[in-house]
């Protein structure tokens, strides 16, 4: 009896001690052994052997919030080359003293060159690797190497990658030209039959000369500024071209990602009027009885406020306001038309018309999906826009000279 109790006790002790003896802390990595990567730039290198040139923007934490800073740059850029992304990472890690940790990558910038060649291969690792996050934002560097965007000093955030994220958020919130495009959004976009993803463009404006040091903003006007602008239109996984201006806004509208954007119309009575569209809801429906000839209907309802009106319009009268809103409707319709025309120009249904069709008539979709590009190119569509001017802000009529 006693022996057995002793035995069970010993077993219990063994049970506790054995793992302790056997384990080392395999997965444990101290924070000061990590190099936190905030942004990744992917360029197309020369030849097949160096297909990917991947630059990692690593945070130098002590420089950002430490007590004894050395006055060095808050981030460093390490570059690795390889046939695959993973090889490039391994290559880059030769230069770093610490483990490159991808858990906090907030920005991925792909160079235009690589984007035109196709981004499918490089996306796999982002999806597969458990360390990277699906919520990283993807950008395409417009007309310049992606690494340049990761090596431009920024004023408002010591980490350029964070600055880029914040810029995107600001533009998408205030002016509506861009919207958040995360890794999985891009992957789903690539899988759109006959279409592709739409990715935000980014470029640096100004001289590159002193962009990568603190000198960049020692003057009031920075030498180089990161700018988020334009949208890269993809067909499958290849960049086809850039969407600009109204077409870009229309595209964002059609993706239903708009939060707020300004509208400026020139009034027949002379002068310009500026509106702020602060709510906008788009519904895309399709009549697809005949899958070869679908008819799409874009329904938009918007809420608008007047921001600027230096004219003599009588804004107290409801008729004037209704008249003004019809101008906004016209403007919106034009933007959407522009967007669809651009998509047709690039021969890519990145607007999701095919998806709508698939939801409406899955059997019909199967028949036409192979040659969807052709149907998309000349299908019918209607735009039913509606806009309401909810208020005129803090004044009704504008003040006039010597009234």
């Amino acid at each position: 009896m006693k022996m057995r109790r002793l035995c069970t006790f010993l077993l219990a002790v063994l049970q506790l001690l054995l793992p302790l003896v056997l384990t080392g802390c395999w997965d444990s990595v101290e924070l000061n052994r990590r190099a936190i990567v905030s942004g990744v730039a992917i360029d197309r290198g020369e030849g097949e052997k160096e297909k990917y040139v991947v630059s990692f923007q690593v945070i130098v934490a002590e420089e950002i919030s430490g007590k004894n800073t050395r006055g060095i740059s808050p981030v460093v850029l390490y570059t690795g080359k390889g046939r695959t992304m993973f090889e490039a990472l391994a290559n880059a890690s030769r230069q770093t003293a610490r483990f490159l940790s991808l858990g906090h990558v907030r920005v991925l910038v792909i160079s235009e060159k690589l984007a035109r060649e196709g981004i499918k291969d490089m996306l796999d690792v982002l999806e597969r690797e458990s360390d990277t996050r699906l919520t990283s934002l993807i950008f395409v560097a417009k007309g310049q190497p992606a690494s340049e965007l990761m090596s431009t000093m920024t004023v408002f955030s010591k980490i350029p990658a964070n600055d880029l994220v914040e810029k995107l958020e600001t533009t998408s919130k205030q002016f509506g030209y861009n919207f958040r495009m995360e890794v999985d959004d891009v992957i789903r976009g690539i899988q759109l039959r006959g279409g592709g993803p739409v990715i935000n463009g980014v470029f640096t404006d100004g001289s590159r000369e002193k962009a990568d040091s603190n000198d960049n903003f020692k003057t009031i006007v920075p030498h180089a500024i990161l700018k988020v602008s334009e949208l890269a239109a993809f067909k499958d996984d290849k960049l086809k071209g850039w969407i600009k201006g109204d077409a870009a806004l229309g595209t964002v509208l059609l993706h239903n990602k708009i939060k707020e954007y300004p509208v400026v119309i020139s009034h027949p009575q002379g002068g310009y009027i500026a509106f702020n569209v602060y709510q906008s809801q788009v519904r895309l429906t399709v009549a697809a009885k005949d899958p070869e000839h679908p008819v799409f209907t874009v329904k938009i309802s918007q809420q608008v406020s007047i921001k600027e009106n230096a004219n003599e319009l009588n804004l107290i009268s409801p008729a004037t306001v209704v008249d003004l809103s019809s101008h906004v409707i016209k403007d919106t319709t034009r933007k959407i038309k522009d967007a669809i025309d651009t998509a047709r120009k690039y021969n890519s249904d990145y607007l999701g018309f095919g998806e709508a069709m698939e939801r409406e008539n899955p059997q019909g979709w199967k028949k036409v999906m192979k040659h969807w590009e052709d149907i998309f190119a000349d299908c019918e569509y209607k735009i039913e826009a509606d806009a309401v001017i909810r208020h005129t802000d803090m004044r009704s009529n504008s003040f006039q000279v010597n009234p």
């Binding site: 802390c25 444990s28 990595v29 936190i36």
Partner: protein, 547 residues
């Protein structure tokens, strides 16, 4: 195993056998009896022998023995010795006339003490003397009259130092079992309150009182407690902790399964809930059993404060227990395993803190936890004045110096301090200690396996708690097994009228209909309101009843 099984009866016979070798007995010769008793106690100088003569015509030799300091001097002097000497004239006649049963006469006519009895058994007499009673030996009789004169110096009733409240009764138990019982009796004036005395400890013969409410407490429970107490055959029972270890259900667990308190109001409340209370002489800490997990998170104050405040305080306590258990380990798991979860800005902050720290986070945590435990232990044992110095030196100087020197990261100091403070938020000290011990296990698991270790540790911990029982009651009840009706006083503390059915504020307030109307009126100004009220007062019928 064998010693544990020994029952009370066996115990007695063993004792008498042990003392049989010297065989001190009461003798018919008084001097011999006194000699025997003195011999048994090793001629101890504090054994006082007062010899008297009873009667005038045929004086009988007698002696009163007591231990000075244990016995109450006034009672011995005035009521025992005094009564023996004073009434000599009156009863001597009677004695000579009637029966020669002197002890009976003494008991019935002479002795002025409240409690006295004839005792013949040697061991009982010794026990009585050692407890502070006075033994009267009479020449020619092999018996002693035991007079209850227990007294002597004890601490007076003060506020309990271990469980303080802001609002609530301020009296606390003392070291005397009699006083403690009286403190409880004073709160429950019910004939259902039952008290049983027993003497535990073969050498210490400690008075142990068991109290319960008849009809409320479960019969089986009472029987079980009685059984377990009776089986105790230890030499010494100096504190209720001795009993706790002997009668609890399971030894190898960090969790306490018996509650202890210094507060009579807590005991009274628990008695009314059907629990059994064990009071040990010589300690102000009273045992309450069975005790389940939730009980250790209740404080006497909960019932004195408003119920919503009480609920909030309880939630705070449970949260602080979780913080105590998991605080450092979750920090370790986050920083060394799941850094991706930390918000980027915070991560940068942590990184820059860790930059020049020589230790891994795990060692850091272990060091600081160790230092904290040392500080606490030092602070507890110190005299109060120095104790504060210790805490100041420890908390302020050591903490900031360690950070200044760059040995420990500031965030780690914050985490450790938080867990330390959390451990003080748990009302029951022994539960806090349990949490402090388990915390180290979780620290180890987190250091080796991150969240995997923590989650498995939690499962094993909960399973362990589920396997515990306190006198048959599952330790986690009423959560597991879940009983909705018993949730009134767990994490929740419902208003008193909800806990006890049959009484509601509506019923109580209903007797004041006028008052009710005034307060629920829509009038905004006070003056006309009062006037109206006066008017209504003149014709009190009607409206109140109509409602």
């Amino acid at each position: 195993m064998d010693t544990k099984r020994r029952t009370g009866r066996q115990l007695k016979s063993a004792d008498s056998a042990g003392s049989g070798s010297r065989a001190p007995r009461l003798s018919e010769v008084l001097a011999e009896s006194i000699e025997n008793i003195q011999g048994e106690l090793g001629y101890s100088p504090d054994l006082k022998v007062r010899k008297v003569e009873i009667g005038v015509e045929n004086p009988v030799q007698a002696a009163a023995l007591h231990l000075s300091g244990l016995a109450d001097k006034t009672s011995v002097n005035e009521f025992v010795v005094g009564s023996l000497l004073l009434n000599t004239d009156g009863w001597a006649q009677e004695y000579e006339d009637s029966s020669p049963d002197l002890p009976a006469l003494l008991l019935s006519r002479i002795l002025e003490v409240g409690e006295a009895e004839v005792q013949e058994d040697w061991n009982d007499i010794m026990l009585a003397v050692l407890s502070g009673d006075t033994a009267i030996l009479i020449d020619g009789y092999t018996l002693a009259i035991i007079c209850e004169t227990r007294g002597g110096e004890t601490r007076s009733v003060e506020e309990s130092s271990s469980q303080m409240v802001v609002r609530g009764p301020k009296d606390g138990f003392v070291e005397s079992v009699g006083t403690n019982v009286s403190l409880i009796r004073r709160r429950i004036r019910s004939s259902k309150l039952r008290l049983e005395f027993m003497k535990l400890g073969t050498e210490t013969k400690t008075h142990v009182a068991m109290m319960y409410m008849k009809e409320i407490a479960n019969e089986d429970l009472v029987e079980e407690v009685r059984e377990r107490l009776n089986r105790i055959a230890n030499e010494e029972v100096l504190e209720s902790g001795y009993l706790e270890e002997l009668i609890q259900d399971k030894t190898f667990t960090p969790f306490p399964t018996i509650y202890n308190t210094e507060r009579p109001d807590v005991v009274a409340g628990n008695l009314l809930e059907g629990r059994v209370v064990v009071i040990v002489d010589g300690t102000p800490f009273v045992l309450i059993l069975p005790a389940v997990f939730t009980q250790f998170f209740q404080s006497a104050e909960d019932y004195a404060q408003r119920f919503d405040i009480a609920i909030l305080m309880r939630i705070v306590r449970y949260v602080s227990f979780i913080v105590l258990l998991l605080g450092p380990s979750v920090y370790i798991a986050f920083t060394t395993y799941h850094y991706e979860m930390i918000p980027t800005t915070l991560l940068i902050n942590l990184l820059s803190q860790r930059e020049n720290v020589p230790f891994p986070a795990f060692v850091e945590a272990l060091l600081m936890e160790g230092a904290f435990e040392i500080l606490r232990e030092a602070g507890v044992r110190m005299p109060r004045a120095i104790g504060q110095t210790v805490s100041v030196v420890g908390a302020l100087i050591l903490g900031s110096a360690v950070v200044e020197a760059g040995i420990i990261t500031p965030i780690m100091v914050i985490v450790i301090a938080l867990t330390g403070i959390a451990s003080f938020a748990i009302p029951a000290y022994n539960m806090a200690i349990a949490g402090r011990i388990i915390r180290f296990a979780f620290l180890l698991l987190a250091g080796m396996f991150g969240f995997y270790g923590i989650t498995l540790g939690l499962i094993v911990l909960v399973a362990h708690m589920n396997s515990l029982r306190s006198f048959g009651l599952p330790y986690l009840s009423p959560f597991v097994p879940l009983s909705v009706m018993d949730q009134k006083d767990t994490i929740l503390r419902l208003p008193v009228w909800l806990m006890e059915p049959g009484q509601s504020p509506q019923q109580i307030r209903a007797e004041m209909p006028e008052f009710k109307q005034v307060t629920s009126g829509h009038e905004s100004e006070l003056a006309p309101l009062i006037k109206k009220n006066e008017n209504r007062g003149k014709q009190p019928k009607g409206e109140g009843e109509a409602k």
